[in-house]
């Protein structure tokens, strides 16, 4: 029952994490992070049902709000860097190293 949702959540999280690792485009990377957050939401909701209180569901709402705020900030940053470099590849930005 809830196990499936948890597995799905785990899969989503893993996919998100993997996406962050393998995608170059900053937007996609960022979307993968959002995917991870949503995996969390799914887990919260599932657990909410499993443990039998509503906290998890409330948390999911909070997370959505935070994620939205993150999008705002994130896109602003990515756009700025795109405008400067004419590239949204995260690998291109590697002046800071060693």
């Amino acid at each position: 029952m809830t196990t499936h949702y948890l597995v799905l959540s785990g899969l989503l999280f893993a996919i998100g994490a993997l996406g962050v690792l393998i995608r170059r485009n900053a937007i996609v990377v960022f979307m993968c992070v959002e995917l991870m957050l949503n995996a969390c939401n799914l887990a919260f909701v599932t657990f909410s049902r499993q443990v039998g209180n509503l906290e998890g569901q409330v948390i999911a709402f909070f997370v959505m709000v935070v994620a939205a705020a993150e999008v705002v900030v994130g896109l602003a940053i990515i756009v700025t860097i795109f405008r400067t470099r004419r590239s949204a590849s995260v690998d291109d930005a590697n002046l800071l190293k060693y």
């Binding site: 990377v29 657990f47 948390i59």
Partner: protein, 528 residues
């Protein structure tokens, strides 16, 4: 139907928090409605006053002896002794950092403008003073920092984490010079920060699944009942740890630190290196003591390894750095390791916990204030292209500007933990707490604690090398012909450096002043 009980909010207790957030919101309004030429004139007093006011409110609580003994805001926020101490420290630090931020020329006029474009020139000509959004953003970040260590449940902690981090992501990208580096720092910090907070959140979810609550005391209770070996719990604990350790920059989650510290505008670096670290360590302490106190058998070996690794990685990698801010970033990593040694010691009886807590609080206070001072000095050493980051440009500074170089050398000695500086007593306090905890009856990790302290000592010795190297450069090398210029410091910067110096020297000579406060704070312990 059940009636939803009206939440109780302890306004008095939470007042410092509310003042800061309130001021931040007013700042946004100012940004939206006030004419451009007025904005700075409003922002600066508003920001400083709100921080000062919040600090005053903290003081009032402490001096009136009204430190809360139960969690406030329906168990969401715990304004206990350690929280108040941390708040005080963060407020002082942010006040000081605002003075630095206030200085001309650190921030770009228009973040959106492409570097070198006509837009940028226009914005420069028009705005002159740079982004005034900086002020409300800083206030939000400070608010997040205040909330982060005080959060009494994991959700509040997550929200605080984001409130603290999101403005900082932006602030990192606002440097006026070396825009590319700044933007890159911003992006890296953002992506990695978001990545790690996803881990934090997923960990929270797992723990929620295990304990049925995200409230820290609730978790602890559940642990007391349960076997404590649930994979769900372990996974949750690990992922939660990732998020927290990321924020304090412990190895192997430290990679963002050097890049971000180097790229960000120096005043922001100062804020991150001091305020964020303090807040994050506070949060770590709270999570481990309040939330996972019954699980110390499990997490202490892990923290042992992380602490040792962090100290060594930070010290060793700093040796070959050539950029001063980057070097200080690695130094900050090493210091995070030393702090973790203290965290190791927070377990068991309340008395032992208080000793360790006192040590860490003291360490945090002295280290962060010295850090701010050091970065303030960094802002003054200039090249035609901005700050002279490369270490080779610092050669012979002692001859050009003996005062400044002397002060910086003193800060470095404090970082190295030479006696008669504040840093020494910080290091001593933490090591002493660690050894002391090792002798607690029945602690199977006693020998390990001594071992960790020896690792810390070795790391200190290695770390001393790169601090000393800078002193060698400044004092024992001949200045380059076209050496860096020393910017005429503004009153604000002078004040920052003076305050840092005063604290570093004062606490170095008479640590009891600050130790007493830390002691009182620690003795009231975290609300469990």
């Amino acid at each position: 139907m059940n009636t939803i009980p009206a939440p109780t909010i302890e306004y008095g207790t939470l007042a410092p928090l509310l003042v800061v957030f309130g001021a931040a919101i007013i700042g946004v309004l100012v940004e939206a409605f006030a004419p451009r030429y007025l904005r700075k004139a409003i922002h600066v007093p508003l920001t400083l006053l709100s921080l000062f006011g919040a600090f005053a409110l903290v003081l009032v609580q402490v001096l009136r002896g009204q430190v809360a003994t139960t969690a406030s805001a329906m168990g969401a926020v715990a304004v206990d002794g350690p929280s108040l101490f941390i708040w005080g420290v963060i407020l002082v630090l942010s006040f000081v950092c605002v003075l630095l931020i206030n200085d001309e020329g650190h921030f770009v006029a228009s973040a959106a403008a492409v570097p070198g474009s006509a837009d940028e020139e226009e914005a420069e000509a028009e705005g002159g003073g740079g982004h005034t959004e900086v002020y409300p953003l800083v206030l939000f970040a400070v608010g997040g920092m205040l909330l982060f260590p005080a959060a009494h449940d994991l959700l509040m902690m997550f929200v605080a984490l984001e409130v603290m981090s999101l403005p900082l992501y932006l602030l990192c990208g606002l440097a006026r010079r070396r825009r590319l580096l700044s933007q890159e720092a911003s992006m890296k910090y953002f992506l990695l920060g978001a990545f790690s907070s996803a881990f934090f959140l997923y960990g929270t979810a797992m723990i929620y699944g295990y304990a049925g609550t995200v409230s820290l005391p609730g978790i602890n209770e559940a642990l007391a009942k349960g076997s404590g070996l649930d994979p769900l719990l372990m996974l949750g604990l690990a992922l939660l740890g990732v998020g927290l350790l990321f924020k304090i920059g412990a190895a192997p989650f430290h990679a963002w630190k050097p890049d971000v510290y180097q790229g960000a505008p120096t005043p922001i670096t100062a804020l991150m290196a001091s305020g964020t670290l303090v807040a994050a360590v506070g949060a770590v302490l709270r999570v481990f003591w309040v939330g996972l106190g019954n699980l110390d058998w499990n997490w202490r070996p892990i923290i042992w390894g992380v602490a040792a690794l962090t100290m060594i990685v930070g010290s060793i990698l700093a040796i070959t750095q050539t950029d001063i801010k980057r070097m200080l970033a690695y130094s900050s990593i090493a210091h995070a390791g030393f702090l973790l040694v203290g965290v190791m010691a927070t377990f068991g009886t309340a008395a032992q916990n208080a000793v360790s807590l006192k040590a860490i609080l003291f360490y945090l206070a002295v280290y962060s204030i010295t850090t701010v001072g050091a970065f303030a000095v960094v802002t003054l050493v200039r090249d035609p292209g901005g700050e002279a980051g490369h270490l080779s440009r610092w050669a012979g500074l002692g001859k050009r500007s003996p005062m400044l170089a002397g002060v910086f050398a003193f800060f470095l000695l404090a970082f190295a933990g030479i006696p008669l500086t504040s840093g020494f007593f910080g290091k001593y306090a933490v090591f002493a707490a660690a050894l002391n905890s090792g002798t607690q009856p029945g602690d199977s990790m006693g020998g390990w604690m001594a071992g960790l302290v020896v690792v810390g000592v070795v790391a200190s010795a290695i770390a001393a090398f790169f601090y000393v190297r800078v002193i060698v450069l400044m004092f024992f090398s001949e200045p380059a012909a076209d050496g860096p210029a020393i910017a005429v410091p503004s009153t604000g910067t002078v004040a920052v450096i003076a305050v840092s110096l005063l604290v570093t020297v004062g606490v170095g000579l008479y640590p009891e002043s600050l130790l007493g406060v830390a002691n009182d704070a620690a003795h009231s312990l975290f609300i469990r």
